[in-house]
């Protein structure tokens, strides 16, 4: 292809260069594939842990209650109540009756009561989903040999009972009801505090603040706060909300709270701590959304004689709102997953009653997961996995909502 006059100063090993290019391309592809594989393994592990065979042995053999070949479900309500009366101590029966009279309980509830209170099942051994699928027969043989009295059940640890019941030392009866409610309460407090403060700060910085060293410092400060490890916020919450402000956060000042004692380890402290934690994120996200509102809009508004706040309220905010909400939801999902600061602020290790006001002691879903995971018994790993799935589903739906918002906003 050389032209006359074209001096061959160059020699090019193009095939070699192209080959090198291909090698690196595949390397980059491999790294990406590894990242995807991690996610798959992670989800796989969770599912693997949350479904599988369980060998359950009941303290009282079921045969002693119902005749052979029949099950509890075939009995009617009266028979069930009788069973309970016969096999429970009077004190226990009365406690149960007091919390809800036997007559008004649903049949399924009664079956449950008989099951947990009378039969007292206990997990002997658990298997993973993969084991259960690929080595089903071996497991059956093993179970028959090692736990002859046990019932081998294919159980999903992720079920409605998990959501409905509170924490318990009995893994079969344990649930995340308290934790879920705790998460919801603390997040509501977080939103109520962090959203107005965050949006306000962002509006100040974007719309009002001039380029002075003070405002530049505020901006730098916010960016830095966003990078502070969450546990430091926990320490701050511990020092300020739990300790210094315990009169307020314990509810003692309002005559509320648990037992009137000044203990600041409450939902309020947790919510406020999380609010501080997500505040920089909300500010930064809101700033981005506000920045994206075109200046022509503001000028148009000023041109019509609007004041600065009218301009912000009628033009800037409505246009930035989808972006602000998206950013806030993402910040909130960060807060929902936070564990360390709440451990420091003092989440309760064992708690079975629902929170009824902001001065209640609390646990949250991630805390519950942390505690279950740290238990040595394998059974709790399964519940932890199920709880994690609940947490992930919650976060995923929040995130998808944010994405839907963002997409609608883009149009």
């Amino acid at each position: 292809m050389n032209q006359p006059g074209y001096q061959p100063y160059f020699s090019v090993n193009l095939p070699g260069r192209q080959a090198l290019s291909k090698v690196w391309r595949s390397l980059f592809l491999v790294t990406t594939a590894i990242a995807v594989v991690f996610l798959v393994i992670l989800v796989g592990t969770l599912i693997n842990q949350s479904v599988g065979y369980v060998a359950i042995e009941t303290k009282t053999p079921i045969a002693s209650l119902v005749s052979d070949g029949h099950s509890l479900e075939e009995l009617d309500k009266a028979e069930l109540v009788t069973l309970l009366q016969q096999n429970l101590t009077t004190g226990r029966y009365n406690t149960l009756n007091a919390s809800e009279p036997m007559e008004t309980r649903a049949k399924s509830d009664l079956v449950n009561l008989v099951y947990t209170e009378v039969l007292e099942p206990e997990v002997q051994e658990t298997w993973l989903l993969t084991e259960s699928i690929f080595h089903g027969n071996r497991i059956k043989a093993e179970a028959a040999e090692l736990h002859p009295d046990a019932l081998l059940q294919f159980k999903s640890w992720l079920n409605f009972n998990l959501l409905k019941t509170t924490q318990s030392s009995d893994p079969l009866a344990s649930g995340i009801r308290t934790a879920l409610l705790g998460s919801i309460w603390s997040i509501l407090i977080t939103i109520l505090v962090a959203f107005p403060l965050g949006v306000g700060a962002a509006l100040y910085l974007e719309e009002y603040a001039r380029d002075t060293w003070v405002n530049r410092m505020i901006q730098t400060n916010i960016n830095n706060l966003a990078g502070v490890p969450s546990i430091i916020y926990g320490m701050l919450g511990l020092a300020i909300f739990v300790r210094t402000l315990s009169v307020i956060t314990s509810g003692a000042a309002f005559g509320l709270g648990s037992g009137g004692s000044e203990n600041g380890r409450t939902l309020l402290s947790a919510g406020l701590t999380l609010a501080l934690l997500v505040l920089p994120l909300i500010i930064i996200n809101t700033q981005e959304a506000v920045k994206a509102v075109p200046d022509t809009l503001r000028q148009a508004s000023y041109g019509l004689g609007a004041t600065q706040w009218q301009t912000i309220w009628y033009h800037v905010l409505p246009n930035a709102m989808p972006g602000i909400l998206t950013g806030t939801i993402l910040a909130i999902s960060r807060a929902i997953g936070e564990t360390a600061p709440l451990v420091v602020v003092g989440a309760a290790t064992y708690i079975t009653f629902d929170p009824n006001n902001v001065f209640s002691r609390f646990t949250t879903l991630p805390i519950q997961i942390y505690q279950w995971s740290s238990r040595p018994q394998a059974v709790f790993q399964h519940i932890a996995a199920a709880a994690i799935l609940v947490l992930l589903i919650l976060l995923l739906s929040l995130n998808s909502f944010a994405i839907v918002l963002r997409n609608r906003y883009r149009k």
Binding site: T45, G198, G200, T220
Partner: protein
């Protein structure tokens, strides 16, 4: 017609609220420095604490009045090292692939995957370290070699946690490189690889450096994974398969129990915390400086 200035009380009130919001973030910082700092000061002013020993001692046993922070720092850096070993090459590779190689279609699928990975709470990663990584390591290196709680497992999983952060920051840096530079390179007869490695990468290097620093800061401050998987109890060891407690892990474990205020244990946690705060703050400030610089370069 009256065109003279008049005050608008509502506007002033609203502005006052917004100014307060703006300054609230300063309050948080002051709060951290004052509250955490003063508790830490209480710790350092305690006669049982020797500042020299604090920074050089290799035993941390509050019960025995031994306050040498090195075991905690050492474990922190061990886990961080492992995390960086996973996150940096993988994160940069992913960023390169996404920004330079992936078709828009592939990117549309992969970016949400990364976002999901980034949105998973750290406690889940902790669980993952316990139930997947540790058994895997024990299977590979032997049950006798690898403790149930060890820094390697925590560090490796932490690397996965940080990977999306590194990837997305690096991708930002890479995509901030103007397309015109790539075009120029191709028009000169460069191959894809030559363009990516010799033009795009150097142009994005400051952004990538910022990503590395932020990743480092994240790893140092990361808590739940190490609290769950690295072990409980300060242990001065360089063996990644032995259990050891990091600074954050220690804070979580001690404060999780019932702790009496005004004890030296309680104060010592704040000393660790302020150290952590200053360290991560320094890293963040540096990375922000770098980012600001490279943003300006192409604007």
């Amino acid at each position: 017609m009256d065109l003279s200035k008049h005050s608008r009380p509502a506007e002033i009130l609203i502005k006052a609220f917004l100014v307060f919001c703006g300054f609230f973030s300063i309050l948080i910082t002051v709060g951290i420095i004052y509250e955490v700092g003063s508790e830490a000061l209480l710790f350092f002013s305690n006669p049982q604490v020797n500042l020299w020993k604090f920074f050089t001692g290799t035993v941390w046993q509050p019960q025995a009045q031994e306050f040498g922070i090195l075991p905690l720092v050492n474990a922190t850096f061990m886990t961080t090292l492992f995390a960086m070993m996973v996150a940096l090459p993988l994160g940069l590779g992913v960023a390169m692939y996404l920004s330079e190689y992936a078709t828009p279609r592939v990117r549309k699928v992969l970016k949400p995957v990364l976002e999901v990975l980034a949105g998973i709470p750290t406690v889940v990663y902790g669980y993952f370290a316990l139930t997947f990584m540790t058994p895997l390591l024990r299977q590979i290196f032997g049950v006798d070699v690898v403790n149930i709680y060890n820094t390697a497992s925590a560090g490796l999983v932490m690397g996965i946690l940080i990977l999306p952060l590194v990837a997305s920051m690096c991708e930002d840096a890479l995509s901030a490189v103007p397309q015109s530079l790539r075009d120029a390179s191709y028009a000169l007869g460069a191959t894809k690889f030559e363009t990516v490695v010799k033009i795009v990468l150097p142009a994005a290097i400051s952004g990538i450096a910022a990503a590395v620093i932020v990743a480092f800061s994240r790893a140092v401050g990361e808590t739940m994974i190490v609290a769950m998987a690295a072990g409980a109890g300060p242990n001065f060891t360089f063996n990644p398969f032995k259990s050891a407690e990091t600074m954050t892990g220690h804070i979580v474990r001690i404060s999780g129990g019932d702790l009496s205020y005004d004890s030296i244990d309680y104060n010592s946690l704040f000393a660790i915390a302020i150290l952590l705060f200053l360290f991560t703050l320094t890293l963040n400030v540096i990375s922000q400086r770098i980012v600001r610089k490279y943003r300006r370069k192409y604007e």
